[in-house]
Symmetry: C2
Amino acid sequence: MTVRYRVECAADAIEARARALAVEQSVEMPIEAVRDARVRAEVVGEVLAIDPLPGTPQRFDVVLALAAETVGDEPGQLMNMLFGNCSLQPDVALLDVQLPDAMLERLPGPRFGIDGWRAAVGAAGRRALSCTALKPQGLSAGALADLAYAFARAGIDVIKDDHGLADQPAAPFAQRVPAVQRAIARANREKTNEGGALAGHRSVYAPSLSGGPRRLAAQLGVVRDEGVGAALACPMIVGVPVFSELLRAEAGVPLLAHPALAGHARIGAPLLLGQLFRLFGADATIFPNWGGRFSYPRTQCQAIAGRARAPLGAHAPILPVPAGGMSVERVGEMLGDYGPDTMLLIGGNLLAAGDALPARAAEFAARVAGAFEHHDSRP
Amino acid sequence: MTVRYRVECAADAIEARARALAVEQSVEMPIEAVRDARVRAEVVGEVLAIDPLPGTPQRFDVVLALAAETVGDEPGQLMNMLFGNCSLQPDVALLDVQLPDAMLERLPGPRFGIDGWRAAVGAAGRRALSCTALKPQGLSAGALADLAYAFARAGIDVIKDDHGLADQPAAPFAQRVPAVQRAIARANREKTNEGGALAGHRSVYAPSLSGGPRRLAAQLGVVRDEGVGAALACPMIVGVPVFSELLRAEAGVPLLAHPALAGHARIGAPLLLGQLFRLFGADATIFPNWGGRFSYPRTQCQAIAGRARAPLGAHAPILPVPAGGMSVERVGEMLGDYGPDTMLLIGGNLLAAGDALPARAAEFAARVAGAFEHHDSRP
C-alpha cells in the first residue's frame, strides 16, 4: 500500500527522516539489525517519494510503500500500520493511502450504502435526506420519546440519539430505545393513515450504541427485538475493530458513524471520516460542516463528502452528513454544496424553536425532501 | 467531575468560548433551548475557572464541572464526555480530570498492578523489571520463538510481541503464541535446572492481542490454553471499552498497554497514558521516553510515571514502561529517573547486537534486576 504523510522537517534532514518513518511504520527496529533476507526485501517500508511543498521550506509530503502483509485484513491493524507509532511523533500527519485491490476487497465496507438509507425511509427517487438528534441528555426516556414523536410527525427522515446518550440512569438504553422506537412507529402509522403529503413516509430511529462487546450485544438485541431501523456509533470510541467486526456484521441496519474523538487526530479528515470509516462499514458519516461550531474549511468538507461517494473498489457509496451547528436557513446552500446524495443533520436549531419546533422541523424536512423534486419521479 | 482544558483564544472572547465548551461537552445544544429544569440545573456543564497562563496572552486553562451522570460507569463514555466532540475543535486540548470518588470506584482499574508483575516473574523484593520485544514482523513463528528463547535464557523478565504483530500470514497468532510460549517455558525450566543465578526466574510472555471481539475471544482462548503469563494491547486501537470490558475482565493475566494511535491526541499524555489507561485496567503502561525516537520531554515522562503510581482511589499502582529507542547504556540513568517500581523496555538495541544478542540481553537483564539489590532482601 502507498501512504502519504505530511512531515515537518528541515530540508537537509528530510531524507533520513523519511527513511526513519518507513522503518517506524514497518519493522520498527534498526534496519541493519534485520537479518532475514525476505523481511529486508518484502516487509521493510520503502520511501517512494519526497515532495517539497511549494512555499513552505520545512514541509514535505513523504510517500511510503508499506507491505500489505503487515495488515492482514483487520481494520484495527490497518490503523496501526498507517498511524500507530508515528501518531506519537508530532512532526508527522497522515494524509492519504492507496490500498491494493486485494485489501480493498477484503475490508468490509458499507452493507447498505446510500440506496439502503433511501429504502429504509421510503424515499422515492434521488433526494437528499433529513436527520435530527434527540437531546439534551438528562431527559427521561419518555421525554425523548415525545421529542422523537414530534420529529417523526414532522417528516424528518432519520432521528438519531445525541451521541452523548449512552446507558445513563436518566434514560437507560433498554428503556429509551423501545420508548423512542414505539413513538416513531406510531407517528409513521398516523402519517400514512392521515393520507397527506407524508403518507408512506417512514422516519427511522438511529440509537447510539456504546460500550464493550457485552453491552453492545445486549443493545443489538434491543435493536432487533424492537425493529429499530438504523444505528449510530463512534468508531474511534468503540474501536474500529468493534465497529467492523461486531456492529457492521451484526446490526443488520444502516450504520451512521459519528466523529467523536476522531478530530484530535493528525489524520486527514477526508481519509478518516470519508474513506476509512466507509471501508470499516459505515453507511453514512457525520462530519463538522464549515461555518458552524467547528472550523473545518469548506474545501475539506467537500473533500470528505467526495470520499464518501467516490468509486472505491466494489464498495457502495455512503451518505455524507454535514452537521455541527447548522440551521434551517442554510438548507438551500448546503444542498447546493452537497447535492442530493446527502443527509443534512440539524439538531439544536430545531430544538431552539421551542413551541414552534414541530413547524420548524416540518419546514426542514420538506425543504430537504423537496429540493431535488424534479429528480424524484425519474429515479 | 472537574475537567481542565487548555484553550487558545483571544482574551476578550475566552468567557464565551469557555461557556460554549461547557455546553459542547454536556448537552450539546443552545442552552436557552434546554427547557427541563433538572437538566439545566444538574446536567449542563459549568465553567468553574478561567486561568490565564502567564506570558501567553492567547492561552487559558479552562476548568469545567461536568455531570458524572453523563458518564455512567463506562470507560468509552468517559472518553466521549471528556473529549468526544471538542476533539474536533483544534483550539482545545484536554489536560486533566478529577473524578468523583463514586466514579473512581466503579471504574475497573488494574487487576494485578505492580505486585502482580513481580509475582509473575518471581522477582524477590522491590526491584525494577526488564522487558524486550519480539520483532521484526515478517519473521516466522519459529524464528520469533528462537528469539524469545534467547531472551528468556538471558533472564529478561517480560518478553512482549512487537505491537505490530497481529494475525498476519507470516506468523499467525494461533501458531506464534504456542511456539513462543513453549520456547520461553523451556528456557525457564533450564534456568532452574541449571541452578545458576537465574534459578527460579520466570520470563513471562506478553503476546499482542488485536482485532474485534470474536478474534480477541479466540486469542484469549490460546492465551489460557497455553498458560501465557501476560498480554499486550493498544487501548486506542481495540477501543477502551473492549480493553476494559473484555481484556481486563477476561484475560486473567497482567495487561501491558501500548500507546499506538494514542499520541495523535491533544490529550495530556500523563492523563491518558498514566491515569486513564490505568483506570481502564492496564497493569503497566508503555510510553515514549525522552531522548529516543520520540520527542516527549523528560518532565512529561516523569509525570506519566507519576500518574501510573500515584494514589488513585483504591486502585493499585501500575508499572511505567519507558521505551522507544532506548539502549542498554542508558539503564543506570533511566533507573535513576524512574526508581525500582518500573519496567524498562529495550527492543531494537538488543537486536542490533547481532551475534552478541544473548550477551547484551543478559547484561540488560542483570543490570535491571541488580540495580536495587540492597532492597531485594527487605521487601
